[in-house]
Point group: C2
Chain length 405, copies 2
């Protein structure tokens, strides 16, 4: 008998039929003798339609009240889910953010989980009940409702699993696991049996949308094993766990890519201390996240600085940087939306040389120019022209033989 | 400067346009220097559609979880309302049942309010905010969400007003006050300027659907003046207050009627102690509310017993009573759905004789047979054939000159 946390996303609980299907799955785990805590999202599209409703009132709805509105989506679903389980003859109990309680920071719309109380959940489990926790929501110190932002239910699930010291956190979704790359881009993509937290973090932040990034951080911090799998099949998915010796044997685990970035180049920046700070501080204060930064070698006391920002922030970034450029005497600012970032990820890189060389060689062979490079212990990212994205992904997938186990 | 509680019903906040209209009304009261607490219902039809959704799963949804589901209706509306006020430049804060907190019993779907904490509301008012409280919902001692049943938002409003010791509780609705009788039945019906709690209770329980009955009981207990008025006009409505000397001058304040009752007659009941208990106990245990009871004088140790129950409960009542009748040796049970109850209500009756006589005379003149009679200090009710309802209402309205002030 194990204590299991299962999380079902919006497409898995999109209507009453699907809720029934999920209830049967959960009941089965319960019948097998497991203590089951279920974390549910709002039904697919619900959060978006509530946001649209609020935006009919005003373009920027009050964040506290927007969270009160959005929290109803998960509340509806846990109630419908427990009504279903009860009608099937199972004892069940829904718990909302404040009832658990899921304590969060007070940053409405993007709150972080600070603490998950386990008493109420454990009490209900002890009564033999299946517990359904509303994902995505919590309460701050004053008891105000908060939400965790996009994909927040993943984080709720992992945080609840960590607090309960659960044996396993199963994330049920509409894909059946983590792949070596996006199967829509390359059908030869292979489902991974296992992946380390670190690799998953790199894959997630690079655009593989299987797991919300904060949930992986949480899982890594508290060592919660995650099983990412499909709601609609019985097949094993992908285990996300601590790094094992086994994993290191594999050079590269996956190829990730993102088309969501834009590049900004500032020409002839005077190369003196404090210049980078002058440039990036105003972006920071505006909440714009700078990802990669490359600085050319200095010539005659001047240098070129290139960096990437999320594509939706490009316009704001250009406005800010044009101002600063004038102040510091840089000659020109160039923005470019037509870029993509392609990355290879793998814990095996730590102990193997030559991975970077092979990546550059592969791209060169395809005639793809590399605009920027950044590396970490377990990943290498290259910025290339957007139109070559799919070509690069396929070539790298082949070069590192990711279709083979 | 006063502390005012304003309650808006589902038809007053049915969509974003109406919510905006209400927000402007509330903002106006705030601008006049009042501290305003607003209690909102779910939008019209929302509660019913959520119940329907739950009933698609099972005919009798789990009551705890149904309350979790239904509570989202008011939650949505307070959030949308505060988003609107904030967009208008007013500071506002929504509070749900658990945040206030509105403490209730744990009878899901029909919970009673035990206590309303005022600290959080007062804190928000002190910050100059308009406070929007979600009606209809509360939490029990364990923090489970409860709802108060039909019309529960009225009760929330009065309970909040009582706890805050508010100067006034305004109930905004789609009618513009309490009338001497239903204007749809008799266009000569006149809007009352004032009515006592006791009269309002009788009017409400007799089928005038302006105020939820428990809210009037609450108001009477804590002496909260209620102003019932229309959301969509500026006109004064009806004040519901303690009885005043003035009110006693009026013999009859209104004519109420109800077509929602059915009559059951048990023939030749042995007239011995404990028989009534034998008959009515099984109805009590089934939650069937018996309203009027009439027992004929006994002949040869036998009597006929007649009583009324809500029409929807007639079938269940007949099943129960037929069983009991066999056991106690009564000869026959007759059910009759085609009845109505017509009543005249007025605190003046306490001190005036001849009101009953005039009522019976009026009905007799119209050739309407009286089947049952029941009286209280401030009301007289007659059961008559249903088809005569409107005729009786008009005749009584004329006889007591209710169209004149």
């Amino acid at each position: 008998m194990a204590l299991i946390v299962q999380k079902y996303g919006g497409s898995s609980v999109a209507d009453l039929q699907k809720i029934r299907y999920v209830a049967e799955k959960v009941a089965k785990a319960h019948d097998q003798g497991h203590k089951v805590v279920v974390v549910l999202s709002a039904r697919k599209g619900r959060t978006d339609s509530l946001i649209s409703l609020a935006k009919e009132i005003t373009p920027i709805p009050d964040p506290r009240e927007l969270d009160v509105l959005l929290a109803t989506g998960e509340q509806e679903n846990v109630a419908l889910f427990c009504i279903t389980l009860k009608a099937m003859g199972y004892d069940a109990c829904s718990l909302l953010g404040f009832q658990v309680a899921v304590q969060t920071s007070d940053l409405y719309g993007k709150a972080s989980i600070l603490k998950v109380d386990t008493q109420r959940i454990l009490d209900e489990l002890d009564k033999g009940r299946i517990v359904a926790v509303a994902g995505f929501q919590g309460v701050d110190e004053q008891g105000n409702i908060t939400t965790l932002g996009r994909g927040g239910s993943d984080t709720t699930a992992v945080a609840v699993a960590a607090a309960l010291n659960a044996h396993l956190c199963e994330i049920y979704t509409d894909v059946d696991g983590v792949y070596t790359t996006d199967p829509n881009v390359y059908p030869k993509a292979r489902k991974l049996k296992r992946i380390s937290y670190e690799e998953m973090l790199e894959m997630a932040s690079l655009g593989a949308k299987v797991l919300e990034i904060r949930s992986v951080e949480f899982a890594m911090k508290y060592n919660v094993p995650i099983h990412v799998r499909s709601t609609f099949t019985e097949e094993e998915g992908t285990m996300v766990t601590q790094e094992t010796k086994d994993m290191e044997k594999v050079l590269v685990s996956g190829v990730a890519f993102s088309k969501n970035e834009a590049r900004v180049t500032v020409k002839r920046v005077p190369d003196r201390p404090g210049i980078a700070f002058r440039l990036f501080r105003p972006l920071l204060t505006q909440g714009i996240v700078v990802d990669m930064i490359v600085q050319n070698t200095s010539e005659d006391g001047f240098t070129d600085l290139t960096f990437t920002v999320p594509k939706p922030d490009l316009l704001r970034t250009m406005n800010v940087i044009n101002e600063v450029a004038k102040e510091i005497g840089a000659t020109k600012v160039i923005g470019d939306e037509n870029i993509a970032k392609v990355s290879i990820v793998g814990v095996g890189m730590k102990t193997h040389a030559g991975v970077a060389a092979k990546m550059f060689e592969t791209l060169a062979k395809e005639g793809i120019n590399i605009m920027m490079i950044s590396t970490s212990e377990i990943k290498i990212s290259c910025v290339i022209e957007e139109k070559y994205t799919e070509l690069a992904v396929r070539a790298l997938h082949d070069a590192f033989e990711l279709d083979k186990v």
